[in-house]
Symmetry: C2
């Protein structure tokens, strides 16, 4: 296993599914102290009385090797006793929260009575023995609304109850300010990595916060495409891309990042997009970006980090 | 098993330990539709983000045969996965809440966003298949404070964290109004039974609500002493009795109830108090009021109901 061990600082911008897979590879090849993860908080909300910061919790579980990497939320081998009892009592719990996972959410909810989200996550990452930095993008609450042919929906309503079936006409969210440490993390990084997460609802909310783009322009930034051909690797990114006027493929994604992107990695099978991408991002690589095995994840992490 | 099956309506005033034991006996000998339980809500409060109506939940679990009758809170055979995980994460949960029990508390907390406590309990008792009426004494929040030589404490702080060690100088609680149905239940009862619960913190809060004493004076009321000699059958009743200026024995208790009590049942071993009690309550019986076995509970229930 390669360790750079060079004080080479990496900041990863992350959503809740694609990028955590890449994080599993990155954490195998660098020291944990060299890694900062800035995590999307756009969909944070209360469910069944607990504050759910879904992407942050997924990153916390990923970095502590507890993640259920079949579903990409919650802990592997968790139980669902409370959830199932709620159903028996006639209470429908929108999110299927595991018993151990619920403990993390209860603790966060209680911590938020006296702490910012940033502080609460700091306490929780320490409790989980994580030595990397985990920064929620913002302490401010900001809900994302999905405008569809069936009407305006909350994000979880669209994802879970509608199962992403509706036609999406717009994705709407307000502006929030970055949490303390977010701008500094990018400023102090040798390398910023944008993982293969949904560009509209996971990465763009981070990028659009005041001050972030300015720092990204000064940094060396690599992005990994979240598309294979016209299909998003996970989730409903293609619907969101179209609603925002972008092609739902790796070319559409780099248009969103073109302002600051230095190196763009697309899948081997997307070679055909290389020429058109080169018109806006000179440095494009093709790699295997389908992250199924730990070897896939480590290989991609090495390619990203060694390329620089 | 005897069933009266006569439309004979019984209302029981209950706290969270002594009276539920008696309820186990009463429910064996009458039809569930003939029983209403008015339950103390004085100590209701939020713990770990969920609303805990401890005595109400104990009565719900008692009437649905789910109660853990070793501890008199929570369900028998529950697990504590979330509670134990909270401890691992460094969050001390004041109450040890089981996983299934937590579901009831989460549901109640969510129901309270749109319903009164009375309505929430109605929904939950139906979900648990309970055919008796269960009425929280009040929909209003009222905290009890225990004044001690160590300072003013919340009730749970005194009971759990201090383990009832401090010397009690006063028990303080504000006035609340009865929930809908409470006055009517007493009015429509053939027999009101005050179980062997703490007179100061469980029964008196019910009695002191506006309108309750007036109805009790019109009813036939039986009370079971919560004392054996100078010791409370359970909990710190003796400290509370002394703080309020009463003797901590069965005589002190009937002084609190003398205004409306028709029949008073004390333990066989407390025969010596019979004469002094008769000066204020003419009708006094001695029975075995130590409720260890189901036979003990059924026998006492029969004595109470058949005496009338």
């Amino acid at each position: 296993m390669m360790h750079l061990d060079s004080g080479y600082m990496i900041t990863v911008l992350s959503g809740g599914t694609g990028t955590p897979k890449l994080l599993q590879g990155i954490k195998k090849i660098i020291n944990p102290e060299e890694l900062t993860v800035i995590v999307n908080t756009l969909e944070n909300n209360y469910f069944s009385g607990v504050y759910v910061s879904a992407d942050v919790d997924t990153v916390l579980y990923t970095l502590s090797d507890l993640i259920n990497d079949k579903t990409w939320y919650g802990l592997k081998e968790d139980t669902f006793i409370t959830h199932e009892r709620l159903e028996e009592l006639g209470f429908h719990e929108t999110l299927r929260i595991g018993d151990k996972d619920r403990a993390l959410k209860i603790q966060k909810t209680e911590l938020l009575k006296e702490h910012s989200l940033r502080e609460a996550v700091e306490i929780q990452k320490n409790a989980l023995g994580i030595k990397s930095e985990v920064l929620p993008m913002s302490n401010q609450q900001c809900k994302v609304k999905i405008d569809t042919d069936k009407g305006l929906m909350d994000f979880h309503e669209f994802l879970i109850e509608d199962k992403s079936q509706a036609e999406v006409t717009d994705v709407i969210y307000g502006e929030v300010n970055p949490a303390e440490g977010v701008i500094e993390a990018i400023e102090n990084s040798d390398h910023v990595i944008i993982g293969p997460s949904n560009p509209i609802t996971s990465i763009n909310p981070i990028i659009m916060m005041p001050g972030v783009k300015k720092e990204l322009r000064k940094s060396y930034v690599t992005a990994v495409s979240p598309f294979i051909g016209k299909s998003a690797i996970s989730g409903p990114a293609n619907k969101f891309m179209k609603a925002k006027g972008y092609e739902s493929n790796c070319y559409g994604v780099c248009q969103i990042y073109e302002d600051f992107l230095n190196h763009y990695i697309i899948n081997n099978s997307d070679e055909k997009y290389k020429d058109i991408i080169k018109e806006i991002i000179p440095d494009v690589s093709t790699e295997n970006i389908i992250l199924k095995t730990m070897d896939d994840k480590i290989n991609l992490a090495k390619k990203i980090i060694n390329y620089f």
